[in-house]
């Protein structure tokens, strides 16, 4: 009974959040129900209910993980937790945050995300700036070279062998150097740079500025929206990537990113790994490998979920920018 009430409460909460209670939304609701045929009204109502359902389906799995991660693991095993924490505890998080391996993996992930994103954006932008000059010597050759890479690639094994021969395996640089450049991003940069008026550059040239100076002092500051977009895409990719850690980090476990660490406990069912590495006395009887896994999931996702609402408008713009042909 309590659960049903909680469910109703949450749905009501959801409605308020998503419908909004501003003046404008009240006006829109009024507008929607006046001057309309019955069929149209039914369509609107069904549509709204459907959208609320989608909303629920999107949010509930995330919510479920969140509440379970704050619940005592042994209590959670009995089941029956749907809407709210039953036996609140921070033990899961204490264990996760005091785990040295997770801490190391977290540092690796932050480092690769920051360094990888910065180098990717600056490197790709620099080349894109150069290639955006229509009369650049050999422009056609450089462009053709890039376009071919969009359709053909060597595939997993030749790439692996190359990295091995370059001594990139078990090195931090494997995260940075092979991901420094992307031709897709170059095209997005290029179309943005084209929109910057030439007169700005001409004025700077008259004042004696060289190309690199123009790029650094004029083009980059003017390109903040596109730089932010590509940086966000790249940052999310770096943060979420586990595969490079699985495949290229073979011996030096200290270099694995947090998603790889999580992958190892989630998929390779080595869930005891996290517990085995605990310092004595930290582990409580109430936590289980399952509840620790959930807390780890929350910890790895939190940074993205926290920045996401602030940055999502850039993502959408960037997505559209990327969809422009050529």
């Amino acid at each position: 009974m309590l659960e049903v009430m909680l469910a109703i409460l949450m749905i009501g909460f959801l409605v308020i959040i998503v419908l909004g209670i501003s003046k404008q939304s009240r006006y829109e609701i009024k507008e929607m129900f006046s001057r309309q045929s019955t069929g149209s009204k039914i369509f609107d109502i069904v549509n709204i209910i459907f959208m609320l359902l989608i909303c629920f389906i999107m949010l509930y799995p995330v919510w479920y993980v969140l509440i379970l991660s704050f619940n005592e693991g042994s209590d959670a095993m009995m089941g029956g937790i749907y809407w709210w924490v039953r036996e609140f505890t921070l033990d899961n998080y204490k264990i996760v945050l005091s785990n040295n391996d997770i801490f190391k993996a977290f540092i690796v992930t932050v480092a690769r995300t920051v360094i990888g994103t910065t180098t990717h954006v600056l490197f790709t932008a620099m080349i894109a700036y150069s290639l955006s000059k229509r009369d650049l010597v050999g422009r056609k050759i450089w462009l053709t070279m890039g376009i071919i890479t969009m359709f053909f690639s060597g595939g997993l094994i030749p790439t692996f062998i190359l990295f091995k021969n370059m001594n990139l395996l078990d090195s931090f640089w494997v995260y940075i150097i092979p991901t420094m450049f992307s031709f897709y991003d170059l095209i997005i940069f290029q179309s943005f740079f084209r929109g910057i008026p030439d007169s700005l550059e001409e004025a700077a040239t008259i004042d004696g500025a060289g190309y690199f100076y123009i790029f650094r002092r004029i083009i980059l500051p003017l390109s903040k929206p596109v730089l932010a977009t590509i940086a966000l895409f790249c940052g999310v990719w770096h943060w979420n990537d586990y595969f490079m850690g699985v495949i290229y980090i073979t011996k030096n476990v200290d270099l694995q990113p947090i998603q790889t660490y999580l992958y190892r406990i989630v998929a390779e069912s080595a869930s005891n790994q996290a517990m085995a590495n605990m310092p004595d006395g930290v582990q409580k009887a109430t936590t289980t490998s399952g509840s620790i896994k959930l807390a780890t999931m929350v910890v790895t996702t939190l940074p993205i979920v926290l920045v996401y609402p602030f940055l999502q408008k850039y993502f959408v713009k960037g997505m559209l920018l990327g969809s422009v042909k050529g």
Binding site: V18, L19, G20, S25, E28, I29, E31, M32, S37, G39, S40, F43, D44, N47, I48, F50, M51, I54, C55, M58, L59, V62, V65, M126, I127, S130, L136, V137, G138, W142, T149, F151, S153, G154, G155, L156, I157, P158, F160, I161, L162, P178, F181, L186, Y211, F212, F215, V236, Y242, I247, Q259, Y263, V266, A267, T300, I304, V305, P309, V316, M319
Partner: protein
């Protein structure tokens, strides 16, 4: 252009050329060297020798793969899952975008959109973790199904090949439906409003407006994305399968990319795995051209 002119130009543009150079070198090393490395598909390559030294074996590895009993299983899983994803997962974002566009509450519309692409930003590992938690024998799905009385005893969903495709397809749609809808929403937003106004004057109802204005207007976008989706049918979402597969469901989860990883990286059969990778690229390329041609003939829209 004469040679002296080019030299003069190179001198003027030397900074620009120096700025392109690192990119060209990067592409040669990280894109073109691996392409060259494909030749080991036709050789018997061992990791301790160089690619030149390895003896040629022609199409031996390809034939080996086609003869292998895994070939049928791998192709069935890859194509089966991909086609179902295409069949179910491709139209859903379009429907979602159209319905979202019909919402007249601007704030609500914006919030729903934000929420709908939240899962896109979760990693497949976290998502796989959620899936594994939910579908385990003590998980939520079993709890609910037992509670309603649909099943009598808990099912280990990921331990049974029978359920794998369903879980993979459903989780994929869940993750990407909102994100994939963005591009359609943009296309819908670009439609001239006066077309709708004219239709209303002609007495069109909402379904007619969708059918005769919205859908035809976004048809080029649909065609473009469809071609791309078809050319990717052999990709079968590696990240997802990699996380969700286990020895119990491998009958339904063993796909091409996973097979390349297993034989190539794990078992170190480099030449064999490269051959399979090359086979995949060739088929994907053929599919891209075929889909492009068919779509152009049917709808008049094409990618190139």
């Amino acid at each position: 252009m004469t040679n002296t002119n080019i030299l003069k130009k190179i001198k003027v543009q030397r900074t620009l050329l120096l700025m392109v150079l690192p990119g060209v070198l990067w592409m040669i090393i990280f894109n073109y060297l691996p392409m060259y490395g494909i030749i080991i598909a036709f050789k018997e390559f061992k990791i301790y020798q160089s690619m030149f030294e390895a003896p040629w074996v022609g199409f031996y590895h390809f034939i080996e793969f086609f003869k292998d009993e895994d070939f049928f299983l791998v192709m069935k899983n890859t194509l089966g899952m991909s086609f179902l994803k295409l069949l179910i997962g491709f139209p859903l974002p379009i429907a979602f975008a159209v319905l979202l566009n019909e919402l007249k509450l601007s704030r609500f519309k914006k919030n729903i959109q934000t929420i709908s692409y939240l899962p896109h930003f979760l990693s497949w590992v976290v998502l796989g973790g959620i899936m594994i938690t939910w579908t385990s024998e003590a998980g939520l799905v079993n709890e609910v199904l037992l509670g309603i009385g649909i099943i009598q005893k808990p099912i280990a969903f990921l331990g049974d090949p029978k359920y794998f495709w369903g879980i993979a397809i459903a989780s994929d749609i869940w993750k990407e439906i909102g994100w994939n809808a963005i591009i359609y929403l943009a296309a819908i937003a670009a439609i001239d409003v006066s077309m709708y106004e004219a239709a209303v004057i002609d007495g069109a109802n909402r379904f007619q407006k969708i059918k005769y204005i919205t859908l035809p207007s976004i048809a080029p976008t649909i065609a473009m994305l469809f071609i791309l989706a078809v050319s990717g049918v052999l990709n079968s979402n590696f990240d997802q399968v990699f996380v969700l597969n286990n020895p119990l469901n491998s009958n339904a989860s063993e796909v091409l990319d996973l097979y390349v990883y297993r034989t190539g990286i794990r078992a170190a059969r480099y030449s064999y795995a490269t051959a399979i990778g090359l086979f995949k690229s060739v088929v994907a390329f053929a599919l891209l051209f075929t889909a492009n041609k068919v779509t152009r003939r049917l709808t008049g829209n094409s990618l190139f």
